[in-house]
C-alpha cells in the first residue's frame, strides 16, 4: 500500500512537470471548464427563478448538490479522464505488454498513471464552489457531516470511474475504437440531476445498474436530510458490487487479451 502511494506521488510529479511545458493547453482547459461550471450553475439558477423547489430542494440546497457533482466531475477530470481516454487505444493496439510484465498491478498503473495536472486548477475552482455552497447553506451542519459528505463523494468518484471502466472494457472483445463510452457520456447527465426525479424503472436503472444517482445526489441527500440506514446500506452494497464486477471483467479481459494476441 505504502509503495502504491509512493508510486502515485511519482505520477503526480511527472504529470506536473509535463503539464507546465504545454502552456496554451493549460490555459485553454481552465477557460473551458469555467464555462462548463457557469452553464451548470446558471441552469439551476434559472429554473429556480420560476419555482422555489426542485425535487424538494431549495435554491441553497440545490447549490450544495451542484457543488457536489462539479467536485466529482473535477476529480474525475484530473485523476482518471486522461487514463480512460488512452485505455481503449492501448488495448486495441496491443500495448498492454509493458504493463503486464511489471511487478505492479496493471490496473493501478493504467487507471492512475496520467494525472491531468492541466485540470488541477479546475479542481481547486470546483472545490471553492463546493465550500462556498456549503457556507452559504443557512442550516447548521457539523464537521462530522462534512467529513461524511467528503467520504461519500470520494466513493461517488470511484463509482463514476467504475461505470466508465465497464463501458470501456468491452473493447477487449469488440476491438471497437471507444467501446460504449459515448453511451456513458450521454447517460452521465443522470449524475447531474437530483435522484428524486427518477421514478419507476429509471430509478432502478440509475440507482442500481448504472448507479449515476449514487455519485453526487445520494451523498448530497445524506448531508442535507440526514443519514438513514437504508440509503447508506444501498450505497455500500452497490459500490462494492460494482467494484467487484470491474475487477472481474478486467481479469476476464486480460485473459482474453493474452490468449488472443500473438
Amino acid at each position: 500500500m505504502k509503495r502504491y502511494v509512493r508510486l502515485y506521488l511519482f505520477f503526480l510529479q511527472f504529470s506536473f512537470s509535463k503539464a507546465l511545458e504545454f502552456r496554451i493547453d493549460f490555459f485553454f482547459r481552465i477557460a473551458m471548464d469555467i464555462m462548463y461550471y457557469i452553464v451548470n450553475i446558471a441552469l439551476f439558477k434559472i429554473l429556480l427563478l420560476h419555482t422555489p423547489f426542485i425535487a424538494g430542494w431549495s435554491d441553497q440546497q440545490m447549490m450544495v448538490f451542484v457543488g457536489c457533482y462539479l467536485l466529482v466531475d473535477a476529480i474525475n477530470m484530473t485523476v482518471f479522464s486522461t487514463n480512460m481516454w488512452w485505455l481503449p487505444f492501448y488495448i486495441n493496439r496491443g500495448e498492454l505488454d509493458y504493463y503486464l510484465i511489471r511487478p505492479v498491478s496493471p490496473l493501478f498503473f493504467l487507471s492512475l498513471r496520467e494525472f491531468s495536472a492541466n485540470s488541477f486548477i479546475n479542481l481547486i475552482i470546483a472545490g471553492c464552489f463546493f465550500f462556498y455552497s456549503l457556507f452559504n447553506y443557512s442550516q447548521d451542519w457539523s464537521l462530522l457531516s462534512l467529513i461524511g459528505l467528503i467520504i461519500l463523494l470520494i466513493n461517488g468518484s470511484l463509482i463514476y470511474y467504475c461505470i466508465q471502466m465497464l463501458m470501456i472494457l468491452p473493447v477487449f472483445w469488440t476491438q471497437s475504437a471507444r467501446g460504449f463510452i459515448d453511451l456513458f457520456y450521454t447517460l452521465g447527465l443522470a449524475m447531474e440531476r437530483p435522484d428524486r426525479i427518477f421514478k419507476g424503472w429509471l430509478r432502478i436503472l440509475f440507482t442500481i445498474f448504472l448507479p449515476f444517482a449514487l455519485i453526487a445526489s445520494f451523498p448530497a441527500r445524506v448531508f442535507l436530510e440526514g443519514a438513514d440506514f437504508s440509503t447508506i446500506f444501498h450505497l455500500i452494497l452497490v459500490s462494492t458490487g460494482l467494484w467487484l464486477i470491474v475487477l472481474y471483467v478486467w481479469k476476464m479481459g486480460l485473459k482474453n487479451y493474452s490468449s488472443a494476441s500473438s
Binding site: L7, D97, Y98, L100, I101, S258, S259, S261
Partner: protein, 308 residues
C-alpha cells in the same frame, strides 16, 4: 533455468474478403481461420546462456518470447522459467525478468531518463545502493552519462535504445528477452549495443534470448541459435555447427554479358556444372565460394534442413 516442453499456441482470426462487399458478407457469416503460431516447441536454456532466436516475420518468434515473458497464455504445453510458470505473472518472477522490444518504448517520452529510472526503482523495489551502482555501471558502459537529464524525446534513436536497455536492466534481471534491440540503429550504435550486451552477459550471467533480423547481432553474441519456421524449430544447436547442416555445397556467382546470378552446387557436380555454364554463356566473371552463415540460415529458413 528455462525449460519449455511441447509448447503450442494457436489462435483464431477471421478472414474477410476485400472491399465493402466482403465486409457485408463477413457481417453475416465469418470465416474462421485457426492460426498455429507455435507447434509443440521444446528446448532448455541454462543460466548464463545467451541464445539467438531466428526466423522470418510471422514464424512465431515474438509469440514464443511473449509467452515466456508472461504476456501471452499458451494453448497447451509447459514452460518453467526460474521455477515459475510465466503466464501466472507471479511478482517474484516479474521482478527477475526483463523484456526489451526494439519497436516499443517503455520510458516516458516527455521526461528525462533519470525520472523514469526513479519510477522503475520504486516499481522493482531496488535498494538505494544497488540502484546507484547500476546507474553508474550502465551509464558508463553504454557511454550515455550526459544524456540522462535530457528529455527522452529529444534524444537520437541510438541514444534512446541505450536508455531502453538501461531501463530494462536496472533491476538486474536474471532472465532477459531482447526482441530486435538494434532495429533501425546505425552501424556504430549497433556495435555499441552489441558490445554492451556481450559485457553484460559475461559479467552477470543472465538467461538471454535474443531475436534479431541482423545476422551480425547473432554472430557476435550467440554461440547457440534456434531457427524457427512456421511455428516449429528446424534447428537448435551451435552456430558453428550450422555450416555442416548444408553438406558440401559451393556457391557460384556468375556474371555474363546480360546479368549476374547466383547458383548453389554440390561439390561433386562442380566440374559438370561449370562446363555447362561455359558452353551456354559468355562468362565475364566467375566466383566460387563457401556459403556464408547468412546464406545457410536463409536457406534453412526457406527450405528447411537438407541432409547431406
Amino acid at each position: 533455468m528455462l525449460e519449455v516442453k511441447n509448447l503450442t499456441k494457436s489462435f483464431t482470426t477471421f478472414r474477410k474478403e476485400p472491399g465493402l462487399k466482403g465486409s457485408l458478407k463477413a457481417l453475416l457469416r465469418r470465416e474462421k481461420v485457426i492460426k498455429n503460431a507455435l507447434k509443440s516447441v521444446s528446448f532448455k536454456i541454462e543460466q548464463g546462456e545467451i541464445v539467438g532466436l531466428i526466423g522470418a516475420n510471422g514464424a512465431g518468434k515474438t509469440t514464443l518470447v511473449k509467452i515466456l515473458a508472461g504476456i501471452v497464455h499458451p494453448t497447451s504445453g509447459e514452460a518453467t522459467v526460474l521455477g515459475f510458470k510465466p503466464w501466472e505473472r507471479d511478482n517474484e518472477y516479474r521482478k527477475q525478468m526483463s523484456l526489451i522490444m526494439g519497436q516499443k518504448a517503455q520510458v516516458w517520452w516527455d521526461l528525462p531518463a533519470l525520472d523514469s529510472f526513479l519510477l522503475l526503482k520504486e516499481i522493482y523495489q531496488i535498494e538505494d545502493s544497488l540502484y546507484k551502482k547500476n546507474i553508474e555501471f550502465l551509464a558508463d558502459t553504454l557511454m550515455i552519462k550526459d544524456q540522462l537529464k535530457t528529455q527522452v524525446r529529444k534524444l537520437s534513436l541510438g541514444e534512446r535504445m541505450k536508455i531502453e536497455l538501461m531501463a530494462a536492466l536496472l533491476h538486474r534481471p536474471r532472465v532477459i528477452f531482447l526482441d530486435e534491440p538494434t532495429i533501425g540503429l546505425d552501424i556504430s550504435a549497433q556495435k555499441a549495443v552489441r558490445e554492451f550486451m556481450r559485457n553484460y552477459q559475461s559479467e552477470f550471467k543472465p538467461i538471454t534470448i535474443l531475436t534479431s533480423h541482423y545476422m551480425e547481432d547473432i554472430k557476435e553474441l550467440c554461440p547457440r541459435i534456434m531457427i524457427i519456421k512456421e511455428g516449429q524449430f528446424v534447428y537448435d544447436g551451435a552456430l558453428s555447427e550450422v555450416q555442416k547442416m548444408m553438406g558440401d555445397e559451393k556457391r557460384l556467382t556468375v556474371t555474363t554479358k546480360e546479368k549476374t546470378f547466383k547458383l548453389s552446387v554440390p561439390r561433386s557436380e562442380l566440374g559438370v556444372k561449370m562446363s555447362e555454364l561455359f558452353t551456354a554463356n559468355e562468362i565475364l566473371d566467375l566466383n566460387i565460394h563457401d556459403p556464408s552463415i547468412e546464406d545457410i540460415i536463409e536457406s534453412i529458413m526457406n527450405y528447411g534442413i537438407k541432409t547431406p
